[in-house]
Amino acid sequence: MNDLTILVVDDDPVIRRLLEQRLGKENYEVLLAEDGYVGNEILTKEHVDVVLTDLMMPGDIGGIEVLEFAKELERNIEVILITAHSSVDTAVEAMKKGASDYLQKPINFTELFLRLEKISTMRSIMRNAEDLRQAMDVTESAAAYTIQNLEMTAGTLQGKLDKIEDTLNNDKMDPETKVATSRDIMNNWS
């Protein structure tokens, strides 16, 4: 079971169809875009986990622009670039801008599935960590509430004890006044 939605952005209809078939066979949900414009439009409308985009596409919106757009929209989105051998330097540049990975043409599907698997595993670990964190936050805030109340009560009682101690050690008071004053402190002072 694969729970990732993948957006394929490529101007080559053959590659689009190939990716759709192969990814579909692995049970990934696949969305297709024939250029950067359509890709960005889909990104704003649909939930996408992974963008698989060609680096070089006709028009003003290439793979780098799709990457920037996707990251701006949703920081958690993973972007994998598909590059020709000659544009490896650009791909490395893209990694610096937040791309998760790049694949060289022709696409090696074993490699692609491996990367997707990694993303999927990473996501479920992150989700698990987030769940744990939330559970911890709930426990922590409940504990903090209890502890703070106890701390304030203990502080108040300690204050009373200190005052009573001072009273009992006060040589200028007679025993009866000491007892009466101590009782007053216990009952009234807070």
Partner: protein, 279 residues
């Protein structure tokens, strides 16, 4: 993973306590194994006793540093519990600014703040951002000294660099704050120079004397004493009381308590948070 023996649990546990003050429960042998196993392996040690000996003999203290890095917990995040930062913004910092108002208008107000276990820096940077949010462009007309200390070299190093990956950033940091105070750096974010310039980090073992640090106006010592024994906790808060100005404020972790630990502080409540002042 290399297994630890009962005898090693005792001797290595004592060694860790000696070098860091951290008390590891000997009944939790997996804690020793998961944290020290790879270090033992890296140095070709056949046992934890072997690692212990190698570390003691290592004049460069490199292994000791590695052990401390592995043992100390760097669980931290920006604005961990919003309570203390609201407290700082709405009450403690404004009050301290008034209390430290200089006699001459030509002098600047000095306020010293210390994050005693600063880990990878998130807490102290959160304090710096809180000050910036509170004072805006006026920040420069005050003299804030923000110090962060931690026992782990690698934590101090990351804190000083001020760069955080997306996972560290995403926890606790509102997007608007992120964009205001950080610059995107590849897939990571780096704190802006104006915030970075407000803080300093250095290594400190809280178990050792605080020599030459002077007095602080506000001390944060959150979620670190929980790793110490009661006896060490008592010593620590006693030293913190010595390092705090008479009218200074102390903030501890939201689930920590000073009852039975240090009688020199009295708790005070403000909204959802507690802070301490010297009696």
């Amino acid at each position: 993973m290399l297994k630890i023996t009962p005898a090693e649990l005792k001797s290595v546990g004592k060694y860790i306590h000696d070098i860091s003050g951290i008390y590891l429960d000997p009944s939790k042998s997996y804690l020793f194994e998961t944290r020290l196993g790879s270090i033992a392996e890296e140095h070709g040690c056949a046992s934890y006793a072997d690692l212990h000996n190698k570390s003691k003999r290592d004049g460069s203290k490199r292994i000791e540093r590695q052990i401390i890095d592995a043992i100390s917990t760097n669980e931290t995040l920006f604005f961990r519990d919003t309570g203390p930062f609201e407290l700082l913004k709405n009450k403690l910092i404004p009050e301290m600014i008034d209390a430290r108002a200089p006699k001459s208008p030509r002098l600047k107000t000095n306020v010293k703040i210390w994050s005693a276990a600063s880990s990878t820096g998130q807490e102290l940077y959160s304090v710096a951002m809180t000050i910036k949010e509170l004072l805006g462009t006026q920040t420069d007309s005050y003299n804030f000294k923000l110090l962060g200390t931690d026992i782990s070299d690698s934590a101090v190093k990351q804190a000083s660099y001020g760069k955080y990956n997306k996972f560290e950033i995403e926890r606790g940091l509102p997007r608007a704050t992120l964009q205001k105070h950080f610059t995107l750096f590849g897939d990571s974010w780096k704190i802006k120079d104006e915030i970075r310039a407000m803080v300093n980090f250095r290594k400190l073992n809280l178990m050792l004397p605080f020599a030459g640090m002077g007095k602080f106006d506000i001390i944060l010592c959150r979620n670190v004493a929980i790793y110490f024994t009661l006896q060490d906790r008592k010593k620590l808060f006693n030293k913190l009381a010595d390092s705090l100005a008479d009218d200074g404020f102390l903030i501890i972790g939201s689930t920590e308590s000073l009852t039975g630990v240090c009688s020199r502080f009295a708790p005070q409540r403000h909204l959802r948070s507690i802070f301490y002042q010297k009696k």
